[in-house]
Symmetry: C2
Subunit: 603 residues, 2 copies
């Protein structure tokens, strides 16, 4: 990977002549000055070997006893001491060369060694982190954790990703505009972080969940193309892999339609992967309607690397005399689906039990299955606790699923939402457990989202956000809002939503109609979004955009397993920082100035 | 100025074929499609002329009555309507060409005109803003205010500045690393914005006043070179031209000294001006010790475009029998200085009175002056209310000041701080009022700052911040901290501090010594900066950096008169946003969740 910084002119940086990782055979017989940390030190045959580490790599320094001062200094150096080493580059003796290491052909024979700073014994060894060290200790001493070469590499990658994206967007005429962090509370579902105002007692700013309204206002201003790598904030419970603050690549443009914005952002991601990872993504990303994604994969962000899909069998199962299946099969809000796993017949009972537990997280009451041991043998060749209930349809079922010997077939039968979530999650889990991936990278556009989703009580909420344009006229929308599709699109990569966006509403009538359907009164709309409704009356152009989750993008690109590994100073699951010990208490005087008082704790 | 975006591929953006500002004679006889706003409309001889405006410029559209549909649409179009226009480019008839306008040679004969959105009559005309429109109205309808071509131009410039700086720093090996916005309160003097934590009741995050400690921790992590275009926050009373949130170009590097960091950042600014403004700054910026800057210009950010300087005359005035002068002249903490203004004898009494009022803002109790009408005539040639008190030294004074006929000489006599501030400010004011500037751009490094400044009670506070390295050993520092100089440097441009920085303390001993001098107890240091002191023990490299104020830099480069004109959605002087009406009230439920209660207002 093109990660080296050998192109850097270091001359103006006067303490060193080279980065450790820059050393190679071309420098043999040259004097160099290195600065870095003692990564490892060992004494061998009266000679001290120091692996000196800096951002760019590790170089082996040899300190011979005949250089008395250097030797004495090296001798007192411990792990993580900061050294300045001057010496001569030479080829390592034959037999000690290490072709696996970029600097493995050479070593530096030290002439001067200077301790620039000492180090206490670190609380953990850099190599040990995965094995023995808890994340809390790593976060508390984050400045040590970040020294691990793989960590630095991730942040170099992050810097390159951001930089590439910025260059791409600038070249395409997007203006980098900063929008406020201290802003007004927005009712976008998740919770706002609030900031008490000192100059307006009793009032609060909110930290933005996204720059959504500001970027729309910039379009009304005629800025035409906007982007920002923007900090966003959500005070949610940190389930899964979330952070209170996260970063969006935020994009908006005017006088465009969804084809235009999808084409340019797709091109950007394709070029990003080519440039930073040397990966060729498909020349055109597949597109899939939301309804198809839910139907085939039980998810609006299907992982297309996994060659499994859900097959609908409601029509068959409505005929069986097994209420667990026939009930949902006959219910308009129910679904019966099968997930065939080639080669899955080898799964043990224990493994199947584990999957049964797994799908119960998603509300499934069980996990029916059939192992196809010998399809030609008919019922005798099928191993299953439930096959006896479906003898009438078993042939049709085997045919529809094109079942092969060695397959296992899992079933979901419940309300549609539960079947989709349970089998959808099981599909992803099986893909991972059985390593079924057919490709390394599988991007996909999901399109044709419904404008609204209905919760169990029948209440509508915006599927994306309430500024998303429905794909119809105001009249058509008013006639049947619940069934309207929206002009939204999500980019999905390997089952992760990389980004999402939409063409926005640019007409006040439509915006008011959507607020109405959402049960937002005219008064409330005026109170909360008056400035947007105003702006839509003063010449708002057609516009739309998209926002990518930068943390998630970099996580995927670096192969990190959590976004915490691509954020320099992340918070824990309880939204705290073990390093700085934030949040913390503040003085009574500060509270008073903010016109606030703490409540007595509930007992 | 290279501001056009003619290089942009607009093909993927399907509603238009060109930006308005892109049209020129090379497109004559071609069909184009434009999208934009009705900037001006006039009817002339039965034909409608529309100046159509977009981000890139203005094009004249001609709508003839023989195109009935287009004409009807144009006829109902009003100011700020959003139109899509298809038509043929042609040369304007001779006599109607406008060489002052980039598109002034051509016009577009409309074939189709479509209203993409209507507009109510805007609350102010774009041209009128300076004359009639208060800033509050402009901020309330910021999306209209930002349509003014000069505003869009400023934000294009801002985007280019940021982009150039990022490219420069990336090319020099700096990594873009994001540091947290939700962090721990720091005691850096100005006030923190606080954010109550929901998950840790009674505790608060603070918004960072700068990423100072995080960037130092990144150096301890071996990141080696860091930068960030970082949002910073200060809850100060908004005197002068401040904003609650502002943006810093934040830079830090390891294994460097002040020469290195000054040389690279100076080179960056020089290249920035060359690239974005086509301005050649000096090949090497002048450097001036802090003490000299205070002495000659009464300021640590002297405006070097102004050829006036303060001349010390304490020695002369200690001899006169005029207590107002001789008192401060003899006082160790006092100063008597003169500011000679060539040609200033023409100032009226009224103007001088105004300047007297002006210096009183800075605590000066008066403003003595001498007009040199005819130096050869001796005392008779001098017009002044005070010359009678200094007859004994007048010749020496005239000589020292090299006074010429037509000069006015202003005097300051008071405590040194007041003299410096008053005469320093007067110097800048005179430079502006009398347009004395000798050059357009005058950059300067101010160096050799004292580590501490003493307030009137004798209490020491950090001149930059408490992490700035003194320019001496710990032993020397402890022996005489009050007189120590620091390794800090400020870059000044035209009297504005563009940026400031320092080599930081990287040794725990020195850091503890500085805290001690500042009266921070060991316990308090541990409580507030424990994580920094810890980090300094685990192999902190020598490091230093600098931060530029981006808003101020862009303000200077665009010639804007306030930073509010280079911030898309700024706050007012009372830290409010008239557009979104932030800050605002929040619900009792939200407060409860944050464990907070409002205080009863003080009566």
């Amino acid at each position: 990977m093109p990660m080296s910084c050998t192109h850097i002119q270091v001359m103006e940086f006067n303490m060193r002549s080279h980065y450790c990782g820059q050393l190679n055979e071309s420098l043999v017989d040259q004097h160099v000055t290195l600065c870095g940390w003692v990564h490892r030190r060992r004494d061998h045959g009266g000679v001290i070997f120091i692996d000196l580490r800096d951002r760019d790599g590790i170089a082996q320094v040899v300190v011979n006893p005949d250089m008395a001062d250097a030797f004495a200094t090296a001798d007192r150096s411990r792990s993580e001491y900061v050294l300045k080493v001057e010496g001569l580059v030479r080829l390592r003796p034959e037999g000690t060369r290490n072709p696996d290491m970029p600097t493995g052909m050479i070593e530096v024979v030290a002439e001067h060694v200077q301790v620039l700073n000492e180090s206490k014994t670190p609380p953990f060894q850099l190599e040990e982190h995965n094995v023995k060290v808890g994340e809390d200790i790593r976060l508390k001493h984050r400045y040590i954790d970040l020294r691990r070469p793989e960590m630095i590499e991730r942040f170099r990658m992050r810097s390159r990703v951001t930089h590439f994206v910025r260059n791409y967007l600038e070249e395409h005429g997007f203006l980098d505009v900063e929008t406020p962090i201290l802003t007004r509370a927005t009712p976008e579902g998740a919770r706002d972080y609030l900031v008490p105002s000192r100059t307006h007692p009793g009032e609060f700013f909110a930290l933005p969940q996204s720059p959504q309204l500001f970027k729309q206002l910039l379009m009304v201003s005629g800025f035409d193309r906007y982007y920002q790598v923007a900090k966003c904030f959500r005070d949610e419970d940190l389930r899964a892999d979330r952070q209170p603050e996260f970063t969006q690549i935020d994009i908006e443009a005017s006088f465009i339609d969804e084809e235009a914005i999808m084409s340019i952002t797709e091109d950007m991601i394709r070029n990003l992967f080519k440039n930073v990872l040397d990966v060729e993504l498909p020349a055109k990303f597949d597109r899939m309607p939301y309804s198809e994604a839910m139907h085939r994969f039980g998810s609006d962000k299907p992982d297309m690397r996994i060659p499994l899909e859900m097959i609908d069998i409601s029509d068959l199962m409505s005929r069986v005399d097994f209420k667990v299946f026939s009930g949902p099969a006959k219910d308009d809000n129910g679904r019966v689906a099968a997930l065939k796993v080639p080669g899955g017949a080898k799964l043990s009972r224990k493994e199947i039990d584990e999957y049964t537990n797994f799908v119960s997280i998603y509300g499934a009451k069980g996990l029916a299955w059939i192992k196809v041991n010998d399809r030609k043998a008919g019922l005798d060749g099928l191993q299953s606790p439930i096959v006896k209930f479906m003898t009438d349809v078993i042939d049709e079922l085997m045919e529809r699923l094109d079942a092969q010997d060695g397959d296992i077939i899992f079933f979901g039968a419940d309300r549609t939402r539960i079947v989709n979530e349970a089998l959808g999650a099981l599909r992803v889990r099986l893909g991972e457990d059985l390593n079924l991936y057919t490709q390394r990278w599988a991007p996909l556009w999901v399109v044709d989202f419904p404008t609204f989703e209905k919760d169990d009580s029948g209440k509508l909420s915006a599927c994306h956000h309430p500024f998303t344009a429905p794909a119809c006229s105001v009249e058509e929308f008013r006639a049947n809002p619940g069934d309207s599709l929206s002009r939204a699109y999500d980019m999905v990569l390997n089952g992760t939503e990389l980004g999402g966006g939409s063409i926005r509403i640019h007409e006040q009538d439509m915006q008011r109609a959507v607020f109405e359907v959402l049960g937002i009164s005219e008064e409330e709309a005026e109170e909360k979004f008056g400035f947007l409704l105003d702006a839509l009356q003063y010449g708002a152009p057609p516009h739309g955009g998209l926002a990518f989750g930068l943390d998630r993008l970099v996580m995927l690109m670096t192969g990190a397993s959590t976004i915490r590994d691509v954020i320099a100073f992340p918070k824990t699951q309880s939204a705290a920082c073990p390093l700085t010990d934030a949040p913390g208490e503040v003085s009574e005087a500060q509270l008073k100035e903010l016109n606030l008082r703490l409540r007595k704790r509930d007992a």
